[in-house]
Every structure is written in C-alpha cells, then in structure tokens.
Amino acid sequence: MTSPWVVHIVDDDEPVRNASTFALQAVDYRVVTYVDADDFLARGREQCGVLLSDVRMPGMNGIELTRLLRRDGFSMPIILMTGHPDGELMEEAINAGADLVLSKPLELMAMVAEITRLTMNWT
C-alpha cells in the first residue's frame, strides 16, 4: 500500500536522484525530485511531505535551505544527506532545524525506518 507521504528529493546529482526515486518507489513511496534548493522553493514548498535534501549543492546548500524553510514556518520533517559527515556539520544542520542528518551512501531500509519514525506523529 502506498504511503500517503510524498518524499521530496533535492539533489543536484542526477544519478543519485534517479536511483533514490527508484529505491523509494520500490518500497511504495511517492517521490518528487528537484535539481536544487531554488527548484524546491519554487515548486515543492506547499506540498505535504518529507524533505530529503543533499547538503552540498550549487547555489543554496541544504543547511541554508533548512534554515529558510523553518523561518518561514515549514514544519514537515527534513532529512539532510551528506557525503562528509562531521561534528560541526551535524551541529549546524540540527541548529538550522533539520530533524536528521544521514551519511551517504544511504541505507534504504534505515532511511525508510527514519521516515516512518518522523511521520508517525502526523495524521
């Protein structure tokens, strides 16, 4: 049964976008993808869903995007992905309002578990 939650993937790397879409659809999530932060701000902000965003992107990075969204009252779960997890980055991400920081390459079932956990308290 398809989850009512839509996963919004923001990543400038096309193969990563495509692969993540394939994997999440295989476990019955609906997926919408965006090429960068501006793309999401233009098309995805109003939609109900979980935001799954890369940190390092051209233009606005994932942490700046998180900070902007939280300031504007966006309350949906935000998961950031990074290939370079370090204490400083994690702290900055959480302070900006991200719910979680996962390191790449991501483990699909672990990600699904986190999405389930984060959306559990929502109706």
């Binding site: 990563v16 051209p58 370079h84 390459p105 991501l106 079932m109």
Partner: protein, 333 residues
C-alpha cells in the same frame, strides 16, 4: 675529432677508438650519431652557437642525456671548419626533477583527497539505492523489467566511479611519459575534470573556451595537466571568500605558440608579490601553502619552451597565462 679524458669517460670509449673518427663511426647507436652530426652540421652552416640536449648511449650505463653547448670554429681564412663542444651529463639532474614533479602531483592529490572522496561517494550512493531498490522489488516478486534496468544503471555508476579513480591514478603515476603530440583542448579538459572534481566545492561557475580548430602541441601530457590543475586550484582557493566566484579557462592560437589562460575574480595579486610569485617558497596561502606550485609550473613550462606569467584582470582578480610551442593546427572536418 679531439676529446679530453672526461669526454672519453662520458662516452665509455678509449682514445684509439675515437681518434680521427666521425661520430657515426664512434657512437654505437646510428640514429643518435646521425642526430648529433645533423646538429653539428646545422651549427657549422648557420655559424650560430647553440645549447641543446642530446641523448647518447653509454656502453654500460645506458642512455645518458647531455646538455651540449656547441660553438663553431671560424679560422677566418677558410671559414667555419669545425666545432668546439662542451657537454655536461644531466641525466641524474633530470631524474631528480622528474621525482620532484611526481611528488608535487601526489601532494596536490592529497590536498584534494576530501573532494575526491566526496565525488566517488556520489556514484556509490546511487549504486546503493539501485541495488536496495532492486532487492525490494525482487522480494515482492514483481515484474523484473525495472530491476534489469536499474542493474544496468548501477553498473554505469560503477564505471563513473572507476573513471574518477582512473584520472587520479594517471595523474599520480610516476611514469615519466614521453613528450608527444597532444591536443591542448584535451589536456585542459582532463586537467579541469581533475581539478574541479567536486563541481560544488566553493560553488564556482566555470567556463572553458577553446578554439574551433584543435591545436596540437608537443608536450608531456601529465606535466601540462599538472600546471593547469595547479592554476585552477590556486584560483579556487583565492576565491574562497568571493560571493559569486567565476573561473574562465581558455586556449588560443597565436601561430608559433599556443596560449592558455586561467582567470579568476578573487582578490588578485598584490603588487609587491607579483615579481617573486614564481620563485620557490613564496606563498600567499600563509601556513597552508608550501609555495612550490608556481615555481614548478615555471620549470615545466620553460622546459617545454614556453613562458608563464600573471596579469591583473580588468575588473577583479588575476589571469595566469602560459604559452607552449604549437606543433600543428587541425582543420575541422
């Protein structure tokens, strides 16, 4: 021919073998002998002294590289009828230079390790998702079509990771490649792929412009790539605090020479440091830079017969330029 003892030692010959004979009779390798005699003939015909590198085999030590200065002997009455040559065996010196350049390439890659790792992580992330999704679909016993396609995509990502590693390994390899005909646009593109391995590092907007027609230069491929990588890394480092960093890399045909330029919009080079920028151990990076990069670039470019220099940009930043002798210019078919 007359020769001093040092010459006999360098050639590995005894005087009786050499006395009164021409190079073609003395030297073991006919091809080398012909080259030496052709150089001598040119100098005698033009009357112009020259310094040049010549390779001559030693019977025991193998090929040795000599820096030979040859001056025509003009005996006034009958004109030029001989040559005085002074040769220095620079084989070991060249080997040390090769080692220095090699170490510098390895150091550059070490400095870029985080970016290289990040870029290899990208295809790995895609592969992980393709395989996890495939597994989930197969467990659901669904139609295998999408799985077959995703496995093909995963394979492509493996090759993508392999490409990155191949580039780094080629750059770092100690093989001292021979000088050969190379397309300047190919060299620059390879160097850019390496230097800008993480496209989102510092968010630099990069423009590369080449001539319509391909320009061929005679070059050590890895060494010229090393120069371009160094200039690009310097430029991106200089633009760390710039809000809209831009990088422009161009190649241009100037007839005998080919011109390569790397321009940034960083803070530029201050007047007091411009004159000594290409000297060893001069660095603008504080504790971060060892300061050998640009002096090695100069060594490489000058050994190719070119020049390297820096100019301020009209607006903001610096443009580094170097020239290389053109071999040929291909006409686009």
């Amino acid at each position: 021919m007359r020769a001093n003892q040092a010459t006999l030692d360098l050639l590995g010959k005894q005087w009786p073998e050499v006395e009164g004979k021409q190079d073609i009779e003395i030297l073991d390798d006919l091809y080398q002998a012909r080259l030496v005699m052709a150089n001598d003939r040119t100098i005698m015909d033009t009357g112009v002294p020259q310094a040049l590198e010549e390779i001559i085999d030693h019977p025991d030590k193998g090929p040795r590289v000599f820096l030979s200065t040859k001056v025509p002997i003009d005996n006034v009455i009958e004109g030029i009828d001989g040559i005085v040559g002074l040769s220095v065996d620079i084989t070991d010196r060249k080997a040390v230079n090769e080692q220095i350049l090699h170490v510098a390439r390895r150091t550059a890659m070490g400095d870029m390790a985080a970016s290289i790792a990040h870029e290899i992580n990208q295809p790995l992330a895609a592969i992980a998702m393709y395989l996890a999704g495939s597994k989930a679909l197969l467990e659901k016993d669904s139609y295998p079509g999408p799985v077959i396609q995703s496995l093909a995509m995963a394979k492509d990502q493996c090759l993508r990771a392999g490409e990155i590693i191949r580039r780094v390994r080629h750059f770092v390899s100690g093989d001292s490649d021979e000088k050969q005909a190379e397309s300047i646009s190919f060299l620059i593109n390879e160097a850019c792929a390496l230097a800008l391995i993480d496209p989102n590092e510092n968010n630099v907007v990069v423009t590369i412009k080449h001539c319509d027609t391909d320009i061929i230069v005679m070059a050590h491929r890895v060494q010229i790539e090393q120069v371009v990588v160094n200039l690009i890394r310097n430029a991106t480092d200089a633009m760390t605090d710039v809000s809209s960093p831009t990088l422009l890399i161009t190649s241009a045909y100037l007839g005998d020479m080919t011109l390569v330029s790397v321009s940034d919009n960083g803070p530029g080079i201050s007047g007091d440091i411009v004159d000594c920028l290409f000297q060893p151990f001069v660095s603008t990076k504080g504790a971060k830079g060892m300061g050998v990069g640009l002096s090695l670039c100069r060594t490489i470019i000058e050994s190719h017969g070119g020049k390297i220099w820096v100019e301020p940009n009209g607006g903001q930043g610096a443009t580094f330029r170097f020239t290389l002798p053109t071999l040929n210019r291909e006409i686009n078919v």
